[in-house]
């Protein structure tokens, strides 16, 4: 596997997780797979760092967790966005867009 993957800037993993979960409750492995697929394998997200991030978000109250039966009938921990999580997602997405626009503008200077 080529190591052309980009490392995530600090703090953006949270944003990505929130976005994935905004599409519906998932368990940790599914989130990992989804991120891997959707980013077309560009983002380098060590699977191990996913779980600390998830637990951190759970502590902040932006996602909540329930144990449920997964699609192959095994017990899995499902995460879902909370209301404040949705608000946080919107806020962080706005920040990110504004950030990238600003950086683009600077980079576009001649």
């Amino acid at each position: 596997m080529t190591d052309e993957r980009l490392e995530l800037p600090q703090g953006t993993l949270d944003l990505l997780i929130l976005k994935v979960l905004s599409l519906g409750p998932q368990h940790g492995w599914a989130i990992s797979e989804r991120l891997h697929q959707v980013s077309r394998a560009t983002l380098q997200i060590p699977q191990g760092s996913l779980y600390p991030a998830l637990h951190r978000l759970e502590r902040r109250g932006w996602i909540e967790a329930t144990w449920d039966a997964s699609d192959n009938n095994r017990r899995a921990k499902y995460y879902d966005l909370t209301r404040s999580g949705r608000r946080q997602l919107k806020a962080e997405t706005d920040d990110w867009r504004r950030l990238t626009v600003a950086v683009d503008t600077v980079l576009g200077m001649s």
């Binding site: 699977q47 637990h55 921990k77």
Partner: protein, 901 residues
């Protein structure tokens, strides 16, 4: 945002209290992930094992992920703490002898300090319960110059109280109070209890509303006689009335008068009593106006001859202490002028220079501090020293232990534990030891403290339990200090641990490095022990000096019998007859050698009259002359020696020529250079007939054991107030044995409600010896303890050294060293430290001796004999402590030693 905070807290809560569940969740979650990942790879055709391996690789470090998750829980500090505690527990548990030894040592030190703190706190710092703004409340002292020295008194007259009320402006309120032991109750139910006579304004000084009824008002507390109302103390209300609410309005007899109950104070309320919780509170004017029975007394608020109460005052906000003192002085001077103007014969204000002082509310912080309090302060310093010695011991033990664990520490450092973490872990161990020591210490303080409190504090209200908040906090604080101090020593040592050396070496050390820290600690202990022992010796000698003083009368076989009429009205003649009869009956009691009448008893009361001697301007300027009434048996009964002339005889009756016996010192003072026998003395007024001196007695201690001038005289009781006589009974053997018998035999002679109190002379004299007794016993006890601790310290350090140097000793022996040389080697090392400690300790004691001088008696703090004795004791004890390890060194088998590691 608030909701974020809330879920954060909830999460942390779960992390703290449902840790196992969280761990299981984490485990399950990660396992699920790995299984799904492995499934993916199996789907690509890999074998199950290979699939799992790839899954794990893809995941990264599982354990690291777990750690990160745990870190994110926000309980890292707490987890670390719990881990440290568990580790410390295990490691301490592996060496039980060490652990128990340290805990006991610290426990003794902490316990002694907690106990003494409790005492000093009660004497010097505690304020009466419920007192509002105690730093604004003052105990008033009035002082004047008396024969060249300024004397302060807190006791004064009601008249003076009224004067001060009228003339001061710096205080928002004043109140007077006095504790009287009076019989409370009707008939046979009556028992002598502490009654507090108070101004109505006193209740306003406190935040203590009555639990029942009300307090009396200033209108009910006015001259000439206050309203006959009474407020019950809570304790008395519970025990005597069962806490019934129908007590209001009921009558109660206090002393000789009847009062009506109008209220009950809250629990633990004692007013400003120094004698223990009062049973009843009555208006001061009600008591003063009726205490003699018959018509209302007016002298108590118009004349200045009955000094019986104390005054407290609340300073107005914004008034400084200096201003209050000045205001009080001015008011006192006005009062003094008033006293002169009504005709009392007192020293003019220009000579007496009356001054007022608004002192702290705690009596022991004022100008008349008891010797006992000063001794108590010194003893707490002593316990602090004992704790330091104990800490030094523990530090040494910890050092030795740290050296033994060098390898373990080196391994942990190699594994990546930071030095800071290691230090925290070591500190946790020490704090745990100190914490257990504190628990043991509190137990020691509770038991030992009860004993100490009975010795230092006479009033029972202060003898609570040790478990009050202030003492507990104090114990925890010093335990934390002790733990930190002792923990720092091995931590500072461990910083110098060289990893490689520590990992490679066994217990064997190539070159023996004598630890300077350990020697320094031993020196410290030895020096402090010397200081304490010198103090102990000084106090013991003082005590022996005081006890060997001739009091001028016997103490052990004497009983003091005091009749209390309790309102029964008898004429003077009947009173005199009653007392004679008491004497006659007393003589018949088996076991009684003799009985005699008197008027006063040493230390408890004194009686003086104005005296006039030809050729002397003012007798009173020469000193305090006190008198005693005596019958023919008096001197023989109390054991006072008659030096010259004759004793009082049965013929010295009323109407016979007045005679008097004087003491040696009085004779020398009034008739210097002449023979006092036959001289003429006049009493009360210059013009009364001559009282002839017919005998000279030895001096006796009337007011103070150590500095009594011994100026007193004996008047025949029949010629001077026989109706006020008291009785002295001399028994064969100890007075206390016959106390109850005498009381039972004499009580039936008392008319009506009257009763007899019988007190052994020993109980009257002993309290005056208490400060020396306390100093001697406390210093000796703690000095001994310090010595034992220091000896144990020396022994353990040497024993450890010998164990460490087994190889070296084996080599020496193999090379032909003699056993005596070996013995000498070890002993010399120990004794060098001991000797150095003695020298330093003696130096400190010499310097500090100056401050302890006022507490001693007849003993110089620089007595060389004492230093010699103490040094010898310490050196001998040190010798014994060194001998055992030295002996063990000689038993080393070189074969075994050389091969061991």
């Amino acid at each position: 945002m608030l909701s974020d905070l809330w879920s954060d807290l909830r999460y942390r809560w779960r992390a703290l209290f449902e840790r196992r569940e969280l761990e299981r969740d984490l485990e399950d979650e990660l396992r699920f992930h790995l299984e799904r990942e492995a499934e993916k790879y199996r789907g690509q055709g890999l074998s199950p094992d290979e699939a799992m391996r790839r899954a794990r690789l893809a995941f990264g470090g599982v354990d690291r992920a777990k750690e990160s998750s745990r870190d994110g829980r926000g309980t890292r500090l707490f987890d670390g703490f719990v881990q440290d505690v568990r580790y410390a527990w295990r490691s301490l548990g592996r060496t039980p002898a060490f652990t128990i030894g340290v805990i006991l040592t610290l426990g003794l030190g902490i316990g002694a300090n907690a106990a003494m703190f409790g005492i000093v706190d009660r004497l010097l710092f505690r304020t009466p319960p419920y007192l509002a703004q105690p730093d604004q409340v003052h105990r008033l002292y009035l002082s004047r110059m008396d024969r060249g020295t300024r004397r302060s008194e807190s006791t004064t007259e009601y008249t003076r109280y009224l004067d001060l009320r009228r003339n001061t402006t710096a205080f928002s309120d004043l109140a007077a109070y006095s504790t009287r032991p009076l019989a409370v109750g009707f008939g046979t139910d009556a028992r002598e209890m502490n009654v507090e006579t108070v101004s109505a304004q006193l209740f306003d000084f406190f935040d203590a509303p009555p639990v029942l009824g009300r307090y009396f008002t200033p209108a009910e507390d006015s001259v000439p006689v206050g309203a006959m109302v009474a407020v019950l103390g809570y304790g008395y209300w519970q025990t005597q009335y069962g806490g019934r609410t129908d007590v209001l309005g009921q009558p109660i007899k206090v002393g000789i008068a009847e009062y009506r109950i109008i209220g009950v104070t809250p629990r633990d309320f004692i007013g400003i009593s120094e004698e223990g919780p009062p049973a009843v509170f009555v208006p001061i004017t009600a008591y003063a106006g009726t205490f003699r029975g018959g018509s209302a007394q007016t002298n108590y608020y118009t004349r200045y001859n009955w000094s019986w109460l104390r005054i407290v005052a609340r300073r107005k906000p914004g008034v400084t202490l200096a201003q209050a003192d000045a205001d009080l002085t001015r008011a006192y001077q006005l009062s003094w002028a008033n006293e002169e103007s009504i005709g009392s014969r007192i020293t003019p204000a220009s000579i007496a220079m009356p001054q007022g002082l608004a002192g702290p509310i705690q009596a022991e912080r004022g100008p008349n501090q008891h010797q006992v309090t000063r001794v108590a302060s010194w003893v707490s310093a002593v316990t602090a020293i004992v704790l330091l010695i104990a800490c030094a011991n523990v530090a040494n033990l910890l050092l030795a232990r740290a050296i033994r664990r060098r390898r373990e520490i080196a391994v942990r450092l190699a594994l990546g534990v930071s030095r800071g973490r290691l230090a925290v872990q070591l500190l946790t161990e020490c704090l745990m030891l100190a914490g257990c020591g504190a628990v043991v210490g509190l137990a020691v303080a509770q038991w030992g403290g009860a004993v100490l409190r009975k010795l230092f504090i006479s009033d029972p209200v202060a003898q609570g339990s040790v478990f009050d908040v202030r003492t507990l906090i104090f114990a925890l604080v010093i335990a934390a200090l002790a733990g930190t101090m002792t923990g720092l020593v091995p931590i500072l040592q461990s910083r110098r641990t060289n990893l490689i050396d520590a990992l490679k070496s066994g217990v064997r050390e190539g070159v023996y490095r004598r630890s300077r820290t350990r020697s320094a600690l031993l020196l410290f202990q030895a020096a402090l022990s010397v200081v304490l022992l010198v103090g102990a010796a000084l106090f013991v000698q003082s005590l022996r000096n005081v006890q060997s003083l001739r009091l001028g009368y016997d103490v052990d076989p004497i009983l003091y019998v005091s009749p209390n009429m309790r309102g029964v009205k008898l004429s003077d003649v009947e009173q005199a007859n009653l007392r004679r009869r008491l004497g006659e009956v007393a003589r018949q009691i088996p076991g009684v050698e003799s009985a005699a009448l008197g008027l006063t008893v040493p230390f408890w009361d004194s009686w003086g009259e104005d005296l006039f001697v030809q050729g002397i301007d003012s007798v009173q300027r020469l000193g305090d002359f006190t008198l005693q009434g005596a019958d023919a048996d008096h001197l023989r009964t109390v054991g006072t020696r008659l030096d010259r002339g004759r004793d009082i005889a049965a013929t010295d009756q009323a109407g016979a020529p007045p005679v008097v016996l004087v003491s040696e010192s009085m004779a020398k003072k009034l008739w210097p250079g002449q023979d006092a026998l036959g001289q003429c003395l006049r009493m009360s007024v210059d013009t009364t007939p001559c009282i002839t001196v017919v005998g000279i007695t030895e001096d006796m201690k009337q007011n103070s054991i150590t500095d009594d001038a011994g100026l007193h005289y004996y008047l025949p009781i029949e010629q001077f107030h026989p109706e006020a006589a008291v009785l002295f009974v001399r028994v064969k053997g100890h007075a206390a044995d016959l106390q109850e018998t005498v009381r039972r035999q004499l009580q039936p002679l008392m008319p009506g409600d009257g009763y007899i109190t019988v007190t052994p002379m020993r109980d009257i004299v002993d309290p005056n010896l208490s400060s020396w007794q306390l100093g001697a016993s406390m210093f000796a006890a703690f000095g001994g303890l310090a010595l034992v601790l220091a000896a144990i310290g020396l022994y353990s350090v040497l024993a450890y050294d010998v164990a460490q140097r087994t190889q070296e000793i084996g080599i020496r022996l193999a090379l032909g060293a003699r056993l005596t040389d070996l013995f000498g080697l070890i002993i010399r090392e120990g004794m060098k430290v001991a000797l150095a400690g003695v020298v330093i300790g003696a130096g400190i004691a010499l310097v500090a001796g100056r401050w302890i001088q006022p507490l001693l008696f007849g003993q110089s703090p620089r007595d060389p004999m004492i230093y010699l004795v103490v040094s010898s004791i310490l050196l001998v004890v040190a010798g014994f402590a060194c001998a055992m390890p030295a002996f063990r060194a000689t038993r080393v088998d070189p074969n075994v030693a050389l091969r061991a590691e």
